[in-house]
Symmetry: C2
DNA sequence: CCTTCATTGTGACGTGTTTCACAAGCGAGT
DNA sequence: ACTCGCTTGTGAAACACGTCACAATGAAGG
């Protein structure tokens, strides 16, 4: 079996990644983060995938100057159960206070730290067709710890073109650029048939996370995480539920 | 609890939708589709979400003129286990032959029928900023049973503008247009703050499936399915796994 | 027609995930 | 300082999903 664990739209394959105990994330407040130094247990990917939503929701509470929030209320906002939120957070430590709930700012910082969002990640973007252009011009990444730092395409006609103040570079330079700049996140926006070879180059360049817009299941080594962006599949699965 | 079952990025909430028995899908070949007229059991959404990938993979086999395929080979191509594919298909009936595998064309047709892809679905697209423009110009939907049939925006400055040979219409007309044309699929590409109100309008217009590009969890009635397209969350969850 | 081979479909099992439900603990009010 | 009400964190139970392993069966070739 190839490495398609959490890597996958097709998804929920056995998850075997182990994870540092949450001690790592204790921070300077007097909240008791009792922490299991032992429990080297692997946190389910499904939990990890929920964390960004928690962060996003906490941010919106911060904007409203809510100082604290209960699991009940957070659950209502997100549309899950309160027990699930408490269970999810308990994988990482104890962040709440009985009778009070969670400190919004503290919890949001903590989850960001867990997700390693307390820094900026440079990314390469491969495939500069229409989709690639749209992604390169997208303003949402920077607000969220991610920055596109290099654009690449095989087509020599577009190489050199400036997009969002960055030149499109030849695909031949991808590996070099990734290595020199220690870039570990890549976005694939190539045509379907070039996606795998692009992924292979990214792996050679040291990629650890790939956001894949091409409608193919990529084969990557175990240490690389892949998430698919696949609107067509999403639509095709929803139509199953439509009546009439 | 609001209706966020299969509707959700946050996902895997209890699934309670029941589903017609696969008899519905028996077609005119001599393959034995023995079918459980009784078993009115609900098929897991996680299975439904895999079916489009199966279809896509079967299509690529069709292009290579492969007449048949074993669960083993299909599994290898997709990156899941053979048992999973057999189990998934068994929810709908018996489509294979012992010693031989599955007839590629037949299986692909059958799954398309199950997913209701043997017809065309008209969609409305709301929010004609950069993202909306990119989606409106995207060529991938039509190849897959989905067609954008109407564009909408609140901003009177862009209303009237032609995009991909279609005029942008005022949001005020959304409900009417959806009802008159029996449109049950909507795409939301509005700014975050307008997403919920847009969803509400779509519901009023009779929507049953929403593809949501806005970074918010939408509240919709039970009979509406929502899938999120959320590249930022995807990145934010992947960074957890990056070493260094 | 019989044998061999490959491969399905599915009970039984195992694992992973969610939910239940409650003891423990914090804080506010008196 | 004590009580009360609220909310956490978590064992234990329930549920959902994935995998194993094998009897059943179709196809191919003598």
């Amino acid at each position: 079996m190839p490495a398609i664990a959490r890597t996958n739209p097709i998804d929920q394959l056995p998850e075997t990644r182990d994870v540092r105990p949450s001690a790592k994330f204790g921070i300077d407040m007097d909240l008791d983060d009792e922490v299991d130094e032992l429990a080297q247990l692997s946190i389910p990917d499904v939990v990890i995938r929920r964390l960004p939503i928690y962060v996003r929701t906490l941010h919106s509470l911060l904007e409203k100057n809510e100082p604290s929030v209960s699991s009940e209320e957070l659950a209502r906002l997100i549309g899950v159960t309160a027990a699930q939120i408490r269970r999810d957070l308990s994988y990482f430590g104890k962040f709440g206070k009985q009778g009070k709930g969670y400190d919004v700012g503290y919890l949001s910082n903590t989850i960001e730290r867990i997700l390693k969002l307390d820094r900026t990640w440079d990314m390469v973007l491969c495939g500069m067709g229409k989709l690639g252009h749209a992604i390169a011009n997208y303003r949402g990444f920077t607000r969220s710890s991610f920055v596109i730092a290099g654009l690449f395409d095989t087509d020599s006609d577009v190489v050199g073109e400036m997009v969002n103040d960055m030149p499109i570079q030849p695909m031949a330079d991808l590996v070099k650029v990734m290595r020199e700049n220690h870039i570990s996140v890549g976005i694939i926006a190539t045509p379907r048939k070039n996606a795998q070879e692009t992924a292979d180059l990214m792996v050679e360049g040291g990629v650890q996370a790939i956001l894949n817009y091409a409608p193919v299941i990529l084969r990557v080594p175990d240490h690389v995480t892949v998430r698919e962006i696949d609107p067509v599949s999403a639509l095709q699965s929803m139509s199953y539920y439509i009546n009439e």
